[in-house]
Each structure stands twice: as C-alpha cells, then as structure tokens.
Symmetry: C2
Subunit: 245 residues, 2 copies
DNA sequence: GGCTCATGTAAAAGCCGTTCACATGAGCTG
DNA sequence: CAGCTCATGTGAACGGCTTTTACATGAGCC
C-alpha cells in the first residue's frame, strides 16, 4: 500500500482512488443540480482527471448513477433497520419511526434519494440494484408483518404485504410531493413529518389498531393487545391532527 | 387563413403550425424515452424543420417542457373534475373515483405525467404552471371538503386540507411506485387500482367513515349520515382487501 | 532492472443546445 | 398589383457532453 500520495498536494499520473473520488463528486453534483443536471465530465473535472478517465471505472454515466443508487439503497436499508429497531419499544411506535426515517432520508440524503427514485434509471434492469431495493422494502414488509400479527381479534387480519405497500406509498408520496426541492415550498398546514404521521395513524386506526389512549368518544374498543398497542407514540390529544379548532 | 398547405405533401418555407407540431412531437418523444431523454433537436427533426426553428416558439427546451406540463395539469384537472362529478351519486363513491382517475391519468398519459411530476422542472418558478397545478389540486381539496362535512357526528371533524393532502400523497405514491414504467413490473399481490382503493377505504374508515355495508363485527356504528355514506362504492365483502384466506 | 497491465491522457467523432446573421414569403398598405 | 415589413425558418458556428481509440505512465512483480 503505497498510496499515501493522497497527502501530496499534486498527484502524479495515477490518481490512486479515482473510483471513490468520482462517486463522491457525483454525489455532491447530484445534490446540487439533480441527477438530470449531473454530468460525467464535471465529476471527472472535480476529481482532477481527464474526461475519459472515468471510463476505466464505470462503463458509462448510467453505471455511475446506478452505483450511487445502489449505495443509496444500502444506506436506506440501514436507516430503516435502525428505525425499526426490531419493533422496540412497541410495534406501533417503531412502525411510525420507520415512516419518519423514510422522510428523514429523503430530506437528509437528497442525492441518494434522487438517484434512487427520481433519476429515471431502470431499477429492474440491474439485478444488484433491484436486490438492494428489495432488501430495503423488506424492512417495511417485516415491520408490517409484525404489525399485522397484532390486529385486534374479531377483525379480519389485513395482509401484511398490502399494509407494507400502503405504508410505502404514503411515505413515498409525502416525500416526493412535500419533502423535497421546490415542492417543499408549497404552503402546508403542517410539516411533512406531521402529515405522514397523521396519515399513518389514521390508516392504522382504519385497520382497527388502537392508536391513542384517549377514552374514545364513540365505541367500546378494549385494548386487547397485551403489552402492545398502547405506546409512547405521541398521539396528541384531539386525534392524529391536533386540535380541531 | 391560408394554411391549407397542411394538405400539401411538401410544405414550403413556413411550416404554418410549428408550435403545435413541436408540442405533439415532444409529447410522443417523452412518452417513449422520458422527459430526460427527450431532445429539442429530435422534436424539430420530427416536425421537419431545422434545429433552430423551435427557438421561434419557445425560449428554450425547458419552456417547451413547461408548456407540456401546463397542458398536462389542465387535462389532469379536467379528468379529476369529471371523476368527481360534483360528488354524485354519493360523496364516498365519487371520492374513490377521483383516486382511480389519478391512476388512470398516470397510466394513460405517461408523457404528461412525466412532464408534470418527474421531469424535475421547477413548478413554482413558473406562475402559470403553479396556478394550473393548484387548480388541479383544488379538485381534490373540494372533494375532501365535502367529505369532511360528512364526518360522523361525535367524532372530531378532520381538517379537509389535511385529508386532501393525504389522498394526494397516497395517489401519487401508488402512481409513482407501482403504476408507471419499470416499477410497474414489480410483482404485486394486487393491481395498483385495487391497492389504492383499499388504501383510501382503510384511511376513510380510520376517520370514522362507514365504508361498507357489512354488519360490523365489533361496535355499534349507526349510519347517521342520511342518504350518504352507504354507497355503491363496491367494497367487496371481507373488507377493503378481499377475502383474508 | 525490466515487464506488464491497470490506469490515465489527448484527440476525435458525433450529438445537443443555443445564438446569430441571413432568407423567405404571408399579409398589410396604398 | 407593387412593395414593405415582420414573423418564421435556415445554415453555420460555438462550446459542451459522451464515448471511443490509440497512446503514455508508472506501480507492482519477477
């Protein structure tokens, strides 16, 4: 390992770490100008190499984009996994934390999110990419599975896969429409996080899950799910949408 | 009006209808290759003019894209309006029809949808575009308003704006993730339409709206909303997700 | 020390967006 | 109908991007 040339102000003929440098440069460029505006040549320039050099590491511009998306899905999976925390302290709380993690990722990693969901690259054309995407979705799926198992007795048990797809679509919808770029400037009555939280809570209630602790004004809904379902999930009094002033 | 030259096989120096021809050409190209892949030069070629000609009608490529998005929002609004049909025959049925119209538009007008939601053009930078987008959203908003007014007594009335945003995010999420391009090839347990319908129904139920006619197994939920809320909205027996086999 | 191969470069071809000076001819004006 | 004018289209040119090709460099290995 002789590449302490990184420390040298001027690098020699060989870069020594070009692949990684290109990925980082691209990440920055995408965050700035979007996947559409990002150019291969710019990334090369930023890394201080000629325009042809990147082709030693990526077949073409799309493969660089795919690599970033791939990395993005991996980080995404990691963050969802951490948020889920295997359902602690209780399933509903953890479930909502996953939703917030989705939004947080979209907000905090705009470049990854862009490459993953907005770059228009064909995810299913790349098996590795598709697998990474699937692994991320499986976190939501697993969480939904656990949640479905807690469905109140007496009601038909919702299919976990469907729940997972529903939650995914809500998260993705809110993130795409309200939590990114220009769309974020739309004047909303509440933050994207609050919006999604309320949406998920209402949805879960629609499935029969008790989602708050206020004595419900309408019907007898015993809390039959033993240590669960009565969580610190922070539902404000007045329902999932604050006070109806 | 002297432009019956359209009938002439060869047009003369002047096209006579270039602006419209360019819009149509672009629409076709975007449907084929996405807004990112669409090129100004290609549209010109397809219209049979030089590469510089389009600049007599659009400031640049982005303005052409904006024009298409604008037209898209107008058609979108028209379709949502028709689907809503002023809440006939009943609010819930009409509401769900709006959701399906959202998906149908995404499916049947991929070029418009792409320009509107996936091209990455700054909607709020163009006042006309933003206004058109707002008008489309206002259909959903109006529908939510009507729906909110029907909230069962005894429950806190949900803010209509929030409901509208929720429905929008669900529709957009399902359309983006499952109803377009490659993502549509994901293996789903149900069609995007069914997925969205179930999602909306569960959500509405979470708000306290009675969404089907089966004698509920759990609580006394009188149908207090006079001629409404018990609609032909086609909820299959077994809840919004078919039979839990 | 010398070989070799991964890694980088320069140059070139082909495309695109955009601009500019110039051409054309449709419609008005008299 | 003659002639003018201005919207609309053309061709050439500039710079930038992607990608390929032939060639240069030097790091690691014998």
């Amino acid at each position: 390992m002789s590449w302490r040339k990184e420390r040298r102000a001027e690098r020699g003929y060989h870069h020594g770490n070009l692949k990684e440098a290109l990925l980082q440069a691209a990440l920055g460029l995408i965050a700035e100008k979007g996947a559409a505006g990002f150019t291969f040549a710019d990334a090369a320039r930023m890394a201080g190499v000629s325009a042809a050099a990147p082709y030693r590491h990526f077949r073409d511009r799309d493969e660089l984009l795919s690599s970033i998306a791939q990395r993005g899905f991996e980080q995404f999976e990691a963050r969802l996994t951490a948020a889920w925390d295997d359902g602690r302290p209780d399933t509903v709380t953890a479930f909502e934390r996953v939703g917030r993690a989705y939004l947080a990722f979209a907000r905090e990693e705009p470049a990854f999110y862009n490459a993953m969901f907005e770059s228009g690259l064909p995810v299913d054309a790349n098996p590795a990419l598709q697998a990474a995407s699937e692994r991320a979705f499986n976190i939501i799926r697993a969480a939904a599975e656990r949640l479905a198992a807690l469905a109140p007795p007496g009601t038909p048990r919702p299919p976990a896969m469907m729940m997972a797809l529903h939650i995914w679509s809500m998260s993705h919808g809110v993130a795409s429409l309200f939590s990114r770029g220009d769309a974020a400037r739309r004047k909303l009555p509440m933050s994207p996080d609050e919006l999604l939280e309320a949406e998920v809570l209402i949805y879960l209630r629609g499935l029969g899950f008790p989602t708050d602790r206020r004595p419900a004004a309408k019907s007898a809904e015993p809390p039959p799910v033993p240590p669960e379902a009565s969580s610190g999930s922070g539902v404000p009094p007045g329902g999932p949408w604050g006070k109806p002033k």
